[in-house]
Amino acid sequence: MSESPTRWLALATTVEPATLAVLLVDLATVHWAPLASAVGPLHGTAYLVTAVLARQLPLPRGVRLRGLVPAVGGLLVLRAAGRRGAAPGG
């Protein structure tokens, strides 16, 4: 049951910083509004999906709340989950 949320969390965790990078590069260079309109909501969805999936993992509350950190929250949660999974008896 915990494997599938982790897989989807990994996907959302990739999409979230990638879309943010696209938005920031667009803002810094050509500032093309249609691109921002299309990618902005994708980034917002990835952020929410990351936060919600992280909340569902069987981890301590403090670790799950790291999913709320913008851009890198998913990475923080996955790293903490990996460390716990690797630790003996953890």
Partner: protein, 158 residues
């Protein structure tokens, strides 16, 4: 751009939220069957719970694209949009606070027999509460969709 955002918003709402409304309304019926001893209803219950959970997460795209659409149309602070947002929050609260935990309890009782100290009457009452919560959830969505169509107070008209 608003047309693209609105199209994505509507498609995602129909496909993802639609799946959730069907799954939550079917769950109590199969829950009653499973608790009455029908073993064939248990896999259906598991699937319906999974559809509810997974599509609820995917449905997060609906308000995001909705806000983007409203913002690009300049109607973000219109009363009907604010009312729809409040009702969406309410529906999300019912889903996360009542429907999903209720489904988990009924599924647990159907899979592993009765919970410790639980009686058949308790589980029956739980299914009834779950049916009420599921009906409330779907009703709130109907109101949101009507708001989206009628847009009371909007000058763009239907």
């Amino acid at each position: 751009m608003a047309a693209v955002l609105l199209s994505v918003h509507v498609v995602v709402a129909v496909v993802f939220v639609g799946a959730v409304t069907v799954a939550v309304s079917l769950f109590p019926r199969y829950g009653r069957q499973a608790l009455a001893g029908d073993a064939a209803a248990v896999p259906a219950l598991r699937l319906l719970h999974r559809v509810t959970r997974v599509y609820a997460v995917l449905s997060l795209a609906v308000p995001v694209f909705g806000i983007a659409t409203a913002s690009s149309l300049g109607v973000l602070t219109d009363t009907w949009v604010l009312a729809a947002m409040a009702l969406t929050l309410l529906a999300a609260g019912v889903l996360v606070g009542a429907v999903l935990p209720g489904q988990q309890q009924v599924l647990g009782a159907a899979e592993g027999g009765l919970p410790p100290g639980g009686t058949r009457t308790d589980v029956g009452a739980r299914v009834r509460r779950l049916a009420t919560a599921s009906g409330t959830f779907n009703l709130v969505w109907v109101v949101v969709v009507v708001l989206m169509v009628v847009r009371p107070g909007s000058t763009t008209g239907v």
